[in-house]
Subunit: 351 residues, 2 copies
């Protein structure tokens, strides 16, 4: 049994991209945990690939599944030893959780107020591919924007806002204007009521289906966009294109998240190509910056049926990298309607 | 006076790229410090552009230069107020300095041993465009590699090693093999003597001029490369191409640093294009990860004569982002000799 054989078998069984190092990363994760969701998180291998690989390892007697856990067998351990594969080791800074910034830069009243507000937010629902991030994540995003000069005096568009980034931005009092765009009536009315209750006159909220072109008044009107795209390639493009269309032009910046759970490294590369071709430069990619709170509909995810062990997660496991881009050479982007299912492709099926 | 006017004037005076936001970033830095090297660091504007802009601001009475400091005048402050430009604010995590990782994951004996060794290193010299990073930086690089599975059991090539990354890697005892490549006899003999003194049998060192193609035995022989390229576009390509040529193939990874001091965002974009075209994907960009110890030849830098205020730096100011790439689709790269000066272009002239 070789790693190359396992890689080839995966390629035969799957219609999706398998990264050259997916087998190695999965074995590293398996050496460090027997809990399926920790393995998903630590391997950074797309779930579509990971689940098929675990099945394959099971068939070859390299892992055992029992009692809700999945474990390398003696044979599996030997394969790791032979290939010098060590257990996954986390070396992240415990102070910032690897996010680079200290949210205390926002001041304690912003932090406390935001946490109080977010405790009353609406539940995540599957219909809109929702799944929101932890309070620390939202606050760290805004801290990152502060650090990069993307907050003070800026007009900020938040494209899809179940994470309540617009509220955290507005609470700092620094932006000139924050506009949140979402399809979900519950969020619209929640953000609207926070605006009233806290007197956040720089905050507004608009109901919009992103498959439709942006309203004219939003085109070319903002300095910064923030979005957390759905991760099918087409869905990703729709979110980021809309974000770019909001921008005033050269020198404006954009933020978004991208996972390894739903996006292979090949999709990452295609997305990076798309960003460069759109006239942007990538200034930052911070691994595992965004941590998602577990959502209620996990058993109804398309990927649930792929799992070799059907147990619920213990802690946060769905994480994404934070990208920051800066627009250098704005190009004309299509202002079109996107029809049909923009949420799924062969890799993206987690939410 | 508008920001647009200043941007246009810069374009007229310079033959290099001026990013759309360079003026804004410079003003943010000026509002937060009157020390030229802090302004270089905080603005993240290439020195070539920054120095010309400061000259321009001076001509228009927007800054005053006196007594070794440079300060916004009342007129300059008003320009900032009118354009809602706030002082630069750092929000970096103080625990990891924004590097995402905790070097303590390496264990205290590796840390102490490395610091002891590095205290005896040779001085940085201009002839080879040297300028080494702080001990914390080198240790954080190796911690990052550990976290990403790029250390244990790996064959690692360090292309140019005045930062002593090869020694820190070898001290952990984890890599299968570490080979450092450098042109500087002093470094060759220093790394060689450390190898003997500490019994680091997995460490070796080779004298090589990177303008020459790699020795055959190094081509396709490594899992990971690490390099800190000189930042002219051609010099950068030479270093990274040699790095990629060292790699065994798909799934292998590479690390390098890139500054804003010597590289405009346009050069960043061209470099990102080059990486994607070479078959790589960018997995991480961590801003300001690498901190350089001030070198002895600062007054002999080409950029010294551009400075509006000729004072010495107080602390570290030359910093670079850490890039990690993974090779997905290896392509054939030219194995050629590069002639002439690969160290300079219009932007890169700091070291």
């Amino acid at each position: 049994m070789t790693l190359g054989y396992l890689h080839n078998e995966l390629l035969k069984r799957l219609r999706v991209y398998v990264a050259p190092r997916d087998v190695e990363r999965t074995l590293m994760a398996l050496r460090s945990s027997d809990h399926i969701w920790e393995i998903v998180e630590r391997s950074q291998v797309p779930m579509r690939v990971l689940c098929t690989l675990l099945e394959l390892l099971n068939e070859h007697g390299l892992v055992d599944v029992f009692n809700g856990s999945i474990k390398l067998t003696e044979l599996g351990e030997r394969l790791c030893e032979e290939n010098d594969i060590a257990p996954f080791t986390s070396a992240l800074c415990k102070s910032c959780d690897g996010r680079t910034v200290d949210i205390n830069a926002l001041g304690s009243s912003v932090i406390e107020e935001f946490k109080r507000i977010s405790s009353e937010r609406p539940e995540a629902i599957q219909e809109y591919d929702q799944g929101f991030v932890t309070d620390e994540t939202t606050l760290a995003r805004v801290t990152f924007m502060l650090h990069r000069g993307d907050l003070h005096g800026k007009e900020i568009a938040v494209i899809g806002d179940d994470d309540l980034v617009s509220i955290a931005c507005a609470l700092t009092g620094k932006p000139k204007r924050v506009v949140a765009l979402d399809i979900d009536e519950r969020l619209i009315s929640f953000i609207g009521s926070v605006r009233e209750r806290y007197g956040l006159s720089n905050l507004s909220v608009v109901r919009h289906d992103l498959r439709e072109p942006l309203p004219d008044w939003m085109v070319g009107a903002f300095d910064v966009f923030f979005t957390d795209p759905t991760e099918s390639f087409i869905g990703f493009k729709v979110f980021v294109e809309r974000g770019l269309q909001c921008l005033k032009g050269a020198g404006c910046s954009g933020y978004f998240g991208l996972t390894h759970v739903e996006s292979s490294l090949n999709k990452w590369r295609n997305i990076q190509r798309f960003l460069l071709e759109s006239g942007a430069v990538i200034t930052d990619i911070v691994d595992m910056f965004n941590h998602y709170v577990n959502w209620g509909y996990i058993e109804r995810m398309r990927s649930w049926c792929w799992l070799p062990v059907k147990v619920h997660p213990k802690g946060t496991w769905y994480k994404s990298s934070l990208y920051r881009i800066e627009w250098l050479e704005p190009i004309e982007l299509p202002k079109v309607r996107y029809d049909g299912n923009i949420f799924e492709d062969e890799e993206a099926a987690t939410t």
